[in-house]
Structures are given as structure tokens and as C-alpha cells.
């Protein structure tokens, strides 16, 4: 063979000195270059700690103030105004609604639009002046005992001091009226009752997001996307194909969590189980659609995981799962309204603990639906049909 006529002398390639360090250094350089190219991962390195700090630092308030309160005023009198003023001065109550009948009062509490309701009965002032020590009702939504607790604890002081400037005859040691506090839905103030339904939503958010967030990037990374795109399939079909199986998975998960909550923790399901199942399915689908949207935006699986975490974190912190929603500053509440978990928490707590029906939950149901459609629209338009 002509090639072998002049054999090339190829010596063995020797092990270099400090080989371990050289190779490690090469690896470090390579990883840095890759990290620098991966803009999203790079941004997350900064974003995640900053976001956590800001959220924990500012948004979270375990003794929430200015809680939305409805007033059912059966009479308009000086005494009633003094008492309302005193309640407001505690800084816990903020009167957002004035209602005129008991049904409206109950509905506001049931739907979670207010956390408290104050009812001043007819003939209250007269009874006070006569020294009859009449009772006024403060009803609290105690599904979240943390949110309701501090506010409820101030009621005794209010009763003592509200009317100290209005001069009345009678025993100065005894308060001139009585406040009857009524902790609705969770009279024992058990946080377990509040947390278990919340966990249904939190766990579903995490698992559902990750299932679909990886779906499109996985196809791209394994090279199967090229085949898939060369076949006659449309973006919306790809999306449904990837969402539907996990709706079933999510439904099984939800059933498990609710089942354990009822059997082990004694959490009641006071409302309709069918309604709970239907709205849970809506919530599951919304999360899957959001996860899928992420996977059409990111370039690899790592980014998909990071984006999911980035979404999951505010979902836990700003939805009212961990900390009372009403206690957060307004800007944080606006972010919270954009998270499906916020709406689902209201739904699942209302159905399980308060026995709410669909007409009490119209707003949150529509919000979930809108978030789902928004995510799906973005996903379908973002889906790259070519390899350009």
C-alpha cells in the first residue's frame, strides 16, 4: 500500500503535567461560556434571589391590616358611627361595602369578597342609652385563622373604649355594649382546615407546570421535533396532545389529596363534590396550559425548570396559600390576581369549608378560564412551526 511506504512516527500522547487541573480548568471555562450564552439561566441567577427577598421582605404580612369588611347598618346613629370609627381605628378593619340585607351580607362573606361583616341591629342606640348592654355582631371568615385572629383579638378593647367619650350613666366598669364575635366556617380556628385545601392547589400547580413545561423542549432536545414538524400536525393539535393526558394525571392527584385531607385530617367537603371536581379540572388545565406556554418560550429543559420555579414561587407566596391575601399590599394583590392558584384557593376553600355554590364563585371561575385561554393563545402563536 502506498500509504504505508513511509510510516508516520506517531508517539504516544503523554499525560500532561497537572492534567487534572488543566482538564478541570478547561471544563470551567467551557461551562462559563455556555452559561454566558444561556441568557435566561443567567438572568435567573439574579432574578430568583432578588425576587424572593422582595417578596418576603415587603409582601408578606402575617398580621394583616385594612381587611375588607362589610357593614350591615340597621340604624344610623351616633353610637353606631362611634363604634364603626373605633373598629376602623384598630387599623384591622376597612369598610369596603355597605349592605342592606342579611342575604347580601352572607354572600359577601361566602364568596370571600370581604373577610369580616359588622351588623348593627335596629334600636341599638336606644338600648345602649337604657343600659341594656345590647350585642352587635362581628362575623369573621375564619377559614384562614391567621388573617382573622389578630383582628378578632382587638374586639374586646373596642367594646371597652368605643364609647368612652360619649357620656352614659351606668356602671363604668362594664362596657356599655357587647360584641358577639362569630368565627364562621372554622370556629376552632384550625389552620389545618385552611392549609389542606390550599395544598390541593399548590401541589397541582407544581406538578402540572413541570409536566408540560418540559414537553416541547424535550422534543427539540431529543431531535424528534424535526420529524414531528415534517408531518402534517398543527400547533394546537400538538398542544392538546400534550395537555390532555396530564389532565387525567392531575385529576388523580387532586382526588388523592382531597381524599387524604378528608380521611386523615378531617377536612370537610361542605359544598358540591361535582362542582369541586369540575373547577379543579379547570384549574389543572389552566396550569398545564401555562406550563406548555413556557415550553414554547424556552430553549432547553433547564430553562423550562427555572421558569416553572419562577412561576411557582409567587404562586405560593402571593396567592394567599402561605400568607393572608388581604394582608398584602395592593401591588402584590394585583400580581396575585394574575395567578391561577389565587383563584383556585378561593374556590377550593369556599367549596370545601364554606359550602359555596357556583354563583358565589363566578368571578374566580371566569378568571381561571380567562387565564387558561390566554396561556393557550400565547402557546399556539408562539409554537415554532419551522426550524428557522
Amino acid at each position: 500500500m502506498s500509504m504505508v511506504d513511509q510510516p508516520v512516527r506517531r508517539g504516544e500522547i503523554p499525560e500532561p503535567r497537572f492534567g487534572f487541573w488543566r482538564r478541570s480548568f478547561a471544563m470551567v471555562i467551557k461551562e462559563f461560556i455556555q452559561l454566558r450564552r444561556d441568557r435566561v439561566s443567567f438572568a435567573m441567577i439574579v432574578m430568583i434571589p432578588v425576587m424572593q427577598l422582595l417578596l418576603f421582605g415587603y409582601a408578606i404580612n402575617t398580621t394583616p391590616r385594612n381587611l375588607p369588611t362589610a357593614v350591615l347598618l340597621q340604624e344610623d346613629s351616633d353610637v353606631a358611627r362611634s363604634i364603626l370609627k373605633a373598629l376602623e381605628n384598630t387599623a384591622y378593619f376597612r369598610f369596603t361595602r355597605e349592605v342592606h340585607d342579611v342575604a347580601e351580607f352572607d354572600n359577601l362573606l361566602l364568596s370571600g369578597k370581604v373577610l369580616f361583616g359588622v351588623e348593627i341591629p335596629r334600636g341599638f342606640e336606644r338600648a345602649v342609652r337604657r343600659g341594656e348592654r345590647p350585642a352587635l355582631l362581628v362575623a369573621a371568615d375564619a377559614t384562614d385563622p391567621v388573617a382573622a385572629g389578630s383582628a378578632m383579638s382587638t374586639l374586646g378593647v373596642v367594646a371597652q373604649t368605643a364609647l368612652e367619650h360619649d357620656l352614659f350613666t351606668g356602671d363604668p366598669a362594664a362596657p356599655p355594649f357587647e360584641i358577639r364575635a362569630h368565627a364562621r366556617y372554622n370556629p376552632a380556628a384550625s389552620s389545618r382546615l385552611n392549609i389542606v385545601p390550599g395544598l390541593v392547589g399548590t401541589i397541582l400547580t407544581m406538578t402540572m407546570l413541570i409536566f408540560t413545561a418540559l414537553s416541547v423542549t424535550r422534543e427539540i432536545e431529543r431531535g424528534t421535533m424535526e420529524s414531528l414538524l415534517s408531518m402534517p400536525i398543527r400547533p394546537i393539535e400538538v398542544m392538546f396532545g400534550k395537555i390532555v393526558p396530564y389532565v387525567l394525571v392531575g385529576f388523580v392527584q387532586a382526588t388523592l389529596i382531597v381524599g387524604i385531607g378528608v380521611l386523615l385530617f378531617g377536612v370537610p367537603v361542605r359544598g358540591s363534590l361535582i362542582m369541586l371536581a369540575l373547577l379543579s379540572t379547570l384549574f389543572i388545565t389552566t396550569n398545564l396550559a401555562i406550563g406548555y406556554t413556557f415550553s414554547t418560550i424556552v430553549q432547553n429543559q433547564l430553562q423550562a425548570m427555572q421558569l416553572s420555579m419562577m412561576f411557582f414561587l409567587p404562586s405560593i407566596l402571593l396567592s394567599g396559600f402561605m400568607f393572608p391575601f388581604a394582608g398584602m399590599p395592593v401591588w402584590a394583590q394585583y400580581i396575585g390576581e394574575g395567578l391561577p392558584l389565587t383563584h383556585y384557593l378561593r374556590i377550593v376553600r369556599a367549596i370545601m369549608l364554606k359550602g359555596a355554590a357556583l354563583q358565589n364563585l363566578e368571578y374566580d371561575t371566569i378568571a381561571l378560564f380567562a387565564l387558561m385561554l390566554l396561556a393557550m393563545t400565547i402557546a399556539v402563536t408562539r409554537f415554532r412551526r419551522t426550524l428557522d
Binding site: M1, S2, M3, D5, Q6, R222, G223, T224, M225, E226, S227, L229, S230, M231, P232, I233, R234, R385, T386, L387, D388
Partner: protein
């Protein structure tokens, strides 16, 4: 099979002036080609020459920056969806689902194309491919040759009119390669048009027509004989002793465009016959060497085209 539009009954692929750039680098430049129905059209060229990009533009996976054309009579820009229904595309890298079994992969494709009996179609294809007994095996666990057969099976399953095969036999053993080509010829005999890209010269010679593309430019096309004839390359085959020394001495001399060893012989080629003859004259009398003027091989032609295009375009 769905009847093709009447506009181009004889021509399966008819594209003009296709260009495509990625990040400012032009990968395909002003490419025009025509492929007749029922032929096997070989697409040759070095790595990175734009073969894959061209194939992807033909089946709608990439949008050309400029140029236009028809694939099976459908506009490649507007009718990508219709083209996709008629075209089977076998990707360079195995792109079926590794975590699905042979049967599940085929049934997936059959369902995607809306075939009436996906299970039956998959079963038929498994026996046609000779994969019976392996249908439960995961695609990722198949050997290279079987993966390639499965991929071919998957893209022919919906009965396409055009097959686009991107280096289908890369890394496959000679026996499997031969079987594969027999299958391709059988499919072409059934009326299927096949566009196949390859590096292998022996495969190029199995094609009805070939095109050579380098650095994004289509440099030659026609039948193998036409491409060789058009090259105007003079080639000498030299046998004898010390060919390696001779190769070193001739390389880069005037008139010598290419010197390449072929087994026990050396091919010396040049475009300018007179200059070549003048340069080699001193060695022609060497008793230890036997010189013979011969037809250039397809490989000679391609390597020469590639070197020339490199000078022109790079």
C-alpha cells in the same frame, strides 16, 4: 394516494433561486433544481454544503429567504401543509421516539396521517421491513441498521409521493446499505420520487440523476456519465513503486489539480491537459511506474469541484 395537481405531472420538484442564510452566513445560494417523478435523485456534497438546509426548505421545515418553487405541484412557501401530507422526510439524525416501541412509533405516524387502520398499517409495515419479532422493542434499543430501516418504514408508511432522505445510510454496515438501496429502487419502481443525500460515491452511482452542491452552490447535475463528461478533467492512473513519493513530488505542480491515492494506484488529474502532460513528462519514462490515461472517477470529479469551489467562494 391523493391525486397531484395537474400543473406539473412530470416534475416532482421544481425550484428556482432558493437562498437561505443563518445569522448572515449564506448556507444555500441561488439553488435551482428539477427532479422528475419516479426517479432517484442523488444529492451530494461535503459536510455543511447546504444539503440538509435544501431538503428542509423543500418540505416546509425552513422558509427560503428568496426563491420560489413547487414540490409535487404545491408552492413551497404557501402550501407547506399540503406538501407535508405527500412527503416522507427521513432526518439525518434518528428522530423517532426512542422511548416508544417499533409498533408504537409506526402507529403514531399512521394516526398522525389519519390512516384508517393504524394498527393494521403498522403491522403490514413491520412485516415489510422484516422487523417481525421486534415490534415490541423500544426504538432506542435498536441497532443502527434497524433504526434506519424503521425510519424509512415510518416515512413511507403514509404512502407519500416523494421521499426526502437525508444521509440515510450514514454509519450503516454495507449489507444493510445494500438492502436499503434495493428497497429504495423497489419504491421508485412503484412510482415514488426519491431525493437522497449521501457522501458515498457508490451510492451516487445507484441514482438515476445526481446533483453536487458545495458551500451552498449547486455545481453540477445530471446523470453520472454527464457529470463526468462535463467535468473536462484529464486523469492518469499510475501504478508502481514509491507512489507516495511521487504524490508528494507532483502535488501543487502546474497543471496538477489533484493527486489522490486509490488503493494501489494514484490518480493524477488536471483541467489543463497540456500543462498536466508537460509536468508529468519526466516521470512518464520511469521504468518503475506505469501510466495510463483514464476516465476520471466520480470521486475525482467531486473532489476537483470541491477544491475549485473552495477557491472561488471561501
Amino acid at each position: 394516494m391523493i391525486a397531484a395537481p395537474v400543473s406539473a405531472p412530470e416534475i416532482a420538484i421544481d425550484v428556482h433561486g432558493l437562498s437561505k442564510s443563518f445569522d448572515g452566513r449564506e448556507v444555500v445560494h441561488d439553488l435551482s433544481m428539477q427532479v422528475k417523478r419516479g426517479t432517484i435523485y442523488g444529492f451530494l456534497g461535503p459536510n455543511g454544503s447546504g444539503k440538509t438546509t435544501t431538503i428542509r426548505m423543500l418540505c416546509g421545515l425552513l422558509t427560503p429567504d428568496s426563491g420560489e418553487g413547487r414540490c409535487l405541484g404545491y408552492d413551497i412557501r404557501r402550501d407547506a401543509d399540503k406538501i407535508k401530507r405527500q412527503v416522507g422526510y427521513m432526518t439525518q439524525r434518528f428522530s423517532l421516539y426512542q422511548d416508544l416501541s417499533v409498533r408504537e412509533n409506526l402507529e403514531f405516524v399512521a394516526r398522525l396521517y389519519g390512516m384508517r387502520d393504524p394498527q393494521g398499517a403498522a403491522r403490514d409495515m413491520i412485516s415489510r421491513l422484516g422487523l417481525s419479532g421486534r415490534e415490541q422493542q423500544l426504538a432506542g434499543e435498536l441497532s443502527g441498521g434497524w433504526k434506519q430501516r424503521l425510519a424509512l418504514g415510518a416515512c413511507t408508511l403514509p404512502n407519500p409521493q416523494l421521499l426526502l432522505l437525508d444521509e440515510p445510510t450514514a454509519g450503516v454496515d454495507p449489507k444493510a446499505r445494500r438492502d436499503f438501496w434495493n428497497e429504495i429502487h423497489a419504491l421508485a419502481a412503484e412510482g415514488l420520487t426519491v431525493l437522497v443525500s449521501t457522501h458515498y460515491m457508490d451510492e451516487a452511482e445507484r441514482c438515476h440523476e445526481i446533483a453536487y452542491i458545495a458551500y451552498g452552490y449547486l455545481l453540477a447535475h445530471g446523470t453520472v456519465e454527464e457529470v463526468i463528461a462535463k467535468s473536462a478533467l484529464s486523469t492518469y492512473t499510475v501504478t508502481g513503486d514509491q507512489l507516495h513519493t511521487l504524490q508528494d513530488q507532483l502535488a501543487g505542480k502546474p497543471g496538477v489539480d489533484m493527486v489522490a491515492p486509490f488503493g494501489t494506484s494514484l490518480h493524477v488529474s488536471g483541467r489543463d491537459k497540456a500543462a498536466l502532460d508537460a509536468t508529468i513528462a519526466p516521470w512518464r519514462d520511469d521504468k518503475g511506474l506505469h501510466w495510463q490515461h483514464s476516465e476520471p472517477s466520480l470521486e475525482d470529479v467531486f473532489i476537483e469541484l470541491m477544491t475549485r469551489s473552495k477557491d472561488n467562494f471561501q
